[in-house]
């Protein structure tokens, strides 16, 4: 059904005179593809965007979220690649879309194979321990890790995730060593920390926020270039004395391959307008994201740099890269 509709859309696009294409407007419901199931980070952001689009009346048509979970984003990326030339399908990517093709031979679709549209947000992180932990600063934790190599533990996502990359960078720069335990769900990660089964966690500030307020967690440092508004007392990694590159979680939008330039311009402009709306400003403030808007050309450049940097980091982490 959808593929037939996209064919019709494609046919309409090919027949249309150039002047018509210049004033491109989506003619039917726009699909925003995410790589997580309902409730995952990207899914929540996508649904928030769908609500803002309705509220701020940014599109003449509805925007609906399509979940294509699995394969660490490979399934969603491949779905977009199949929609070649479809102007009504977009994908919400994260760092996982960049990293998976680096380590998995089956994940054939890289972001380079898709059409970059815009980068939207950068998500900072904080490094948290349980409130009754003996470490007051990150340096104290690193010292403890040095004294007991491999004994302290960090909970996080897969080993290509940002959590582990931060750990690898810190280990490399200090010579300390601690274990990394992967949990697929964010809930299990924080449960492991609260239950005292692990010692430290790289966590999204909003996720940690309530546990800090309730006195369950303490923040040692923040993984960002400058201090977050809600954590004015907590030093950044650099201020805490650890000069390692800051790895943000990145989220942005891509389109299927082979769509006309006019459509790219329409969508990049659409997302620029979205990020200027009060709804969006409030959303990223509530979630303590950084506004990371970049247009299509800047995103393409960012992608290449990020991929090169990630390849180096993964190699250092002992992860086999295939691309």
């Amino acid at each position: 059904m959808t593929s037939r509709m996209s064919l019709i859309a494609l046919a309409a696009l090919l027949c249309a005179p150039p002047s018509f294409a210049q004033g491109f407007k989506p003619a039917r419901t726009v699909d925003l593809v995410v790589h997580t199931g309902p409730g995952g980070g990207s899914d929540v952001l996508a649904r928030a965007i769908a609500v803002m689009v309705e509220k701020e009346k940014l599109l003449p048509v509805r925007l609906q979220v399509i979940n294509k979970p699995g394969g660490n984003a490979a399934v969603a990326a491949a779905h977009l690649a199949e929609k070649k030339g479809d102007p009504n399908t977009l994908g919400l990517f994260t760092g996982v879309w960049l990293q998976t093709p680096l380590v998995s031979a089956e994940a054939k679709v890289t972001l380079r194979d898709l059409t970059p549209i815009a980068r939207l947000v950068l998500e900072p992180a904080v490094i948290a321990v349980k409130a009754d932990a003996p470490y007051r600063t990150l340096a104290e934790f690193i010292e403890a890790a040095k004294k007991n190599p491999g004994q302290l533990k960090q909970s996080g996502g897969s080993n290509t995730s940002r959590d582990n990359v931060v750990r690898q960078l810190l280990q490399k720069s200090t010579g300390a060593r601690w274990a990394f335990i992967s949990f697929p769900g964010g809930g299990e990660r924080i449960a492991a920390l609260l239950g005292g089964h692990v010692n430290i966690m790289v966590i999204e500030p909003e996720e940690a926020g309530e546990h800090i307020r309730a006195g369950n967690l303490r923040v040692l440092a923040q993984v960002s270039e400058k201090r977050l508004a809600k954590f004015p007392e907590v030093p950044t990694l650099k201020e805490a004395g650890f000069d390692v590159p800051v790895v943000p979680q990145v989220r942005g939008v891509v389109a299927p391959p082979g769509i006309p330039k006019e459509n790219v311009e329409f969508w990049q402009d659409f997302f620029r307008r979205l990020t200027r709306t009060p709804s969006w400003q409030k959303y990223i403030e509530d979630n303590q994201f950084e506004d990371g808007y970049q247009n299509a050309a800047e995103l393409a450049k960012f992608y290449d740099e990020f991929t090169d940097r990630m390849r180096e980091i993964l190699k250092d982490a002992g992860v086999k890269t295939v691309r």
Partner: protein, 502 residues
Amino acid sequence: MEILTGLLNGFAVALEPANLLWCFVGVLLGTVVGILPGLGPPATIAMLLPLTFNMNPAGAIIMLAGIYYGAKYGGSTTSILMNVPGESASVVTCLDGYQMAKKGRAGAALGIAAIASFVAGTVGVLGLMLVAPPIAKFALSFSSPEYFALMSLGLALVVLLAGRSIVKALLAALVGLWIASVGTDLFSGTSRFAFGQMELLSGIDFVVVAIGVFALAEVLANMEAREETQLLPVPKGLKNLLPTMQDLKDCRFAFVNGSVIGFLVGALPGGGSTIASFLSYGLEKAVSPRREQFGTGVIEGVAAPEGANNSETGGALVPLLTLGIPGSGTTAILLAALVLWGFKPGPLFIPEHPALFWGLVASMYIGNVMLLILNLPLVPLFAQVLRMPVYVLYPLILGVSMVGVYSVSGSMFDLLLLMVFGMLGYLMRKLDYPAAPLILGLALGAGMERALRQSLMMSEGKLSILVSRPISAVMLSLAVLVLLVPMFGKFNAWRLRALEQG
């Protein structure tokens, strides 16, 4: 006293006409979604999320939670009538539920599923209301070694699900474990048994395998018969369609068992309703005086897992509301909903928003009553489905199976897989391999592997971590016991025979 005033205030919120209406809308939608295989509560809640932004948060959470626990009621319908498990938690219900339908007791099975759901669902809410904070603390004491032990205990139940041959059951369980290992390795991100197929990177969906080896295999096996197959018997008269007093009496223990196991396993962030339903079925069978009849249509074999499945909802809301930790897909989207409405779920959520919490609790009592009233009259209606001639019923089962699988992922590849697993189920049936252990292995495989590897990461590779922690040690001992006891029974029988002969 504090609880009483809280609850009274809660009822004041839940009984507001608008909220009552939202509660009804939620449980009605939930029932429909539950009956349709495939499309589950997370997807439904996600679709409805944008509509809730203009709603009062209390009404919205009441409605979304209604979908969540309402879906658990309907889940058993296709399991009992068609051997099509609509979601992972109703797989166990197929074992005895479908057999009951074959014996003309579909109405009793559907009825007891609704009653068990009501009893255990209500107990689950009671638990959420009375013991949430201590249970949440208990749940935090579980980590990877404990989960590994819990799942080992679940897998040990294979011996209880075995038919005549324990060896065949173990083989089937191993195949299940193997299927669970297909996909992307969580720790290294590399692919396993994907054979270069992009679609296999996300692993093989549990529902695809379950519907294949249960429903498709059933249809295939029944098509073999050359003579016009007997229609499934459906007794006439409403009275004969509902469970009898004797049935309720037989299920006394199943109600308690399902309620307690469902709630406790649900409260664990790594638990889930699948393992809860399997565990309570296993426990029910282990203590039952008519153990050997399980799998042939025993009513408590439906009541226990259906109860556990519903009580799990109350349990799963414990870590969500007391700690802001979601344990499953559905609670994750409920968490997302709370965040989108401007709340901050976490340890301070209940003290700071008592009206919302108590309103939800009160609405769940009301919703469960609504569901019972809604579902019992549906029982005779659904039982009529079986009156259809086989040349209508079997294509219908095939259709329902395919739509169910397609609606999970929207992928044609999964339909091909469904055919493959239908053939596998048919072959297993021909060769007398039980299907349930395969499903159990698949259900537990991924979690078990993950828990074991996480445990070994924690201990730097020392297996002793599994027995040096008390909770995990106790559960592993239980698992060993479950595995060994039948052997002693056999040994004893053999010894007695030898004595007689000697």
